[in-house]
């Protein structure tokens, strides 16, 4: 089976769908001739022509707005926002329009669009190249929100998202683009090729939205995570020796609540990990649901490990990042109680 990096897997997903469905168009800032600042669309313009893969003006609101119009026409646009930190100008079109079209038109119009964007820190990108805004989308009904953590899932989830008739926010942890990351910035970068989840089948396959993956079985505590943090959680479990069960959500909305509840009922303990700022992050929703649904199984308070409630700093990147040490402390604390 071919071994792909996450960038390659994402590109492969688009390539594979563009080949079979001419209603798929790909655009965004620098995605055409150049192939995207992270190279996710490299070669697509050459292969499918300028009307199906092209550069967009630097206007995120326009990018989303025209994508909605294209979607209403019957295309399936896949738009790239260069960094998730720059999605906010397009937020109104996403929230007020993409997410509402089907509802307000009684199903006549809808926006089968995917909005891809790199998220998360770890590349010294400072506060405007490091954000994880997923909770700003999970609060908005009508949207689906997806975050892969590895090449296999990235391709399968992106294909599922492209085929989905609802608008999908597709967050790509940029620190994972070219290799897994366990939260140790000083260790040399290992390429994806050495990781089993870089085995990516050729051609079309889907990883369904709303199905979590079990990354590690364990009996002591359930860790709910996604994106980069799924790997960091694994590292924390190894390093602390806590027998943690690690769930990688893959899609936040729809949420695989059964997988979470099943695990917490077994372990009686729960740690939630994400990179986004803590307050009102998606971890709050997860904690609330676990508490509501597993109240009588919980033996200890649910711990949340998250980015601090500050902007993502540049030099203090690794003080900000919720790395394996912090996750490990939470695991131990969850076990203490």
């Amino acid at each position: 089976m071919p071994r792909l990096s996450m960038v390659e897997a994402i590109r492969d997903a688009m390539d594979c769908k563009m080949a079979e469905d001419e209603s798929i168009v790909v655009f965004g800032e620098d995605v055409g001739y150049f192939g995207g600042v992270f190279r996710c669309t490299e070669g697509l313009q050459r292969k499918y022509g300028k009307s199906r893969c092209f550069d967009a003006p630097i206007n995120e609101s326009g990018i989303v707005g025209v994508a909605i119009g294209m979607g209403a026409y019957g295309l399936r646009p896949v738009a790239e926002i260069q960094f998730a930190d720059y999605v906010y100008p397009g937020y109104d079109q996403i929230v007020s329009e993409a997410a509402r079209l089907r509802y307000r038109s009684g199903g006549e119009f809808f926006a089968p669009i995917v909005i891809r964007m790199p998220c998360g820190g770890g590349i010294y990108g400072g506060q405007t190249h490091s954000q994880s805004p997923e909770a700003l989308f999970t609060h908005v009904c009508g949207l689906k929100t997806v975050i892969p953590s590895n090449p296999y899932d990235a391709k399968g989830l992106l294909i599922a998202s492209i085929e989905d008739d609802d608008p999908v926010i597709f967050l790509e942890p940029k620190r994972l683009y070219n290799g897994p990351f366990f939260g140790h910035p000083d260790e040399p970068i290992t390429p994806w090729a050495k990781h089993p989840l870089s085995e990516v089948p050729a051609g079309r396959y889907v990883v369904p939205l709303g199905k979590a993956a079990l990354r590690r079985e364990g009996k002591a505590v359930t860790v709910v995570s996604y994106g980069t943090m799924a790997h960091v959680a694994e590292a924390a479990a190894e390093e602390t020796g806590v027998d943690a069960e690690i769930i990688d959500l893959r899609s936040l909305i729809p949420l695989d609540i059964d997988a979470i509840v099943g695990s917490v009922e077994k372990t009686g303990r729960c740690v939630i990990v994400h990179e986004a700022t803590l307050t009102s992050g998606f971890g709050a929703e997860l904690a609330a649901q676990v508490m509501e649904r597993c109240f009588y199984s919980l033996e200890a308070p649910i711990q949340r490990v998250a980015g601090w409630d500050t902007p993502y700093p540049h030099a203090e990147e690794w003080d900000y990042f919720p790395g394996p040490a912090r996750v490990g402390r939470a695991l131990l604390k969850a076990m203490e109680a």
Binding site: G65, A72, Q93, L101, F109
Partner: protein, 408 residues
């Protein structure tokens, strides 16, 4: 060093209590502006933004290059469309006063724009309207009953009571679901047109925005994308002089003509007498032909006046003279087309009266039928269970759970 700075805050020429004054609105003679070929270089018609395309002169004669080929039959149909729209508005306004719905917005005084524009489009084209383009649906022959059911949020409302009255959706009629958010549909129209171009289709899009909403950022997005990709889209600005209480100067209309906005994007633009059915049709058709011939976007500023209140929640006498509408120099679109038809012997005051009665009756009958399916607080309504549908294509588990919680 010069003196101290101060803030300029634009102010309409007159406020309640004052004498209406439209001396700032210059009204060129009908027929003055030539009709260029559709492949004209936009730079050659920049002066159009500072003039006004008018066909009907003061006597009601159709003059100049833009005087079009519409038959008497077609013009009578146009007159009827406008009158039907006006009657529809009047009735729905009354229904709102009677508590049959929560809210209503009329298009009084602006009927020519939507009705004549619609006539220039083909089936399959798509409008992205604001809440004040009901004329597009009516001129397309869309059933009044269907529109009213939406207004009454009743059991036959295809939008299941979800939307504010007047925010219709009809894919079949080429009428995109109206947003309550201003401006958002403008770049969507551009995107729809881009899709048509990408697919090598022949369909075109028509986007709509008000003078006030041109200030919204989506206006710029639409123009930038239209400028870059040259999709087949018509970008309509309905300049009815007022937003809610703020006049067009607060949107920048004092400093420049809205039509001139297009110049910075290399998009050709027209400025047209919006109360002149013939001018609206002719201007629309020019833009439609351009778009259809793959020549790209056209921006059109329709100059008109919002003769009624902004909506049923508004009282315009608080911010403008009550009789301002009567002083509006471009007159009333229904009166002007009527005069034209009479001048040419195609119509009479008598037949006008008759048609008035006819459209009133048509509206009344439709209202009765619609009301039989329920009004906002009375009679059959959409089931609350439908509230959870259409959020997603398939209802996800959390919404199924919430529906159960509601017990419906």
């Amino acid at each position: 060093m010069s003196g101290r700075l101060s803030l300029h805050v634009p102010e309409p020429s007159v406020r309640p209590g004052g004498r209406p004054d439209f001396s700032h609105v210059s009204v060129p003679e009908a027929g003055e502006v030539p009709r260029p070929p559709i492949d004209v270089n936009p730079s050659e018609i920049r002066d159009f933004a500072y003039s006004m395309i008018r066909v009907l002169d003061d006597r009601g004669e159709a003059v100049g290059d833009w005087a079009g080929p519409l038959s008497a039959e077609e013009l009578r149909k146009g007159l009827r469309d406008m009158m039907l729209t006006r009657a529809f508005d009047a009735r729905m306004l009354l229904s709102q006063r009677q508590g049959k719905t929560s809210f209503y917005i009329t298009s009084l005084g602006e009927e020519a724009i939507a009705c004549a524009h619609r006539k220039a489009l083909e089936p399959g084209d798509m409008c992205f309207p604001t809440y004040r383009q009901q004329g597009l649906l009516i001129a397309a022959g869309w059933p009044l009953v269907d529109m009213m059911c939406e207004i009454f949020s009743n059991e036959k409302d295809r939008l299941r009571g979800r939307q504010l009255p007047g925010l219709y959706s009809s894919k079949e009629a080429g009428f995109f679901t109206v947003s309550g958010n201003l401006g958002t549909q403008y770049p969507q129209a551009v995107g729809w047109a881009m899709a048509s171009a990408i697919m090598g289709d022949t369909r075109i899009a028509s986007g709509w925005i008000g003078d006030g909403a041109t200030a919204e950022t989506d206006f710029h997005s639409a123009l930038v994308f239209a400028s870059v990709y040259r999709p087949p889209v018509i970008l309509n600005i309905v300049n009815n002089q007022w937003a809610i209480s703020s006049y067009q100067g607060i949107a920048g209309g004092e400093a420049a003509k809205f039509a001139a906005r297009a110049h910075g994007y290399g998009i050709p633009s027209l400025r047209v007498d919006g109360n002149d059915y013939l001018a609206v049709y002719a201007g629309s058709l020019w833009a439609v032909e351009r778009a259809r011939a793959n020549l790209g976007p056209t921006l059109i500023e329709w100059v008109t006046y919002r003769a009624g209140a902004h909506s049923t929640s508004d009282d315009p006498s608080k911010y403008r003279p009550k009789d301002e509408g009567a002083a509006w120099p471009l007159g009333d679109p229904v009166e002007r087309l009527k005069t034209h038809l009479i001048l040419h012997g195609h119509w009479s005051e008598e037949r006008q009266k008759q048609m008035r009665a006819e459209v009133d009756a048509e509206v009344l009958e439709a209202a009765k039928e619609a009301e039989s399916h329920g009004t906002l607080h009375d009679g059959p309504k959409p089931s609350p269970a439908t509230m959870f549908e259409d959020v997603y294509k398939e209802m996800p588990r959390h919404l199924r759970e919430q529906r159960q919680q509601l017990g419906v």
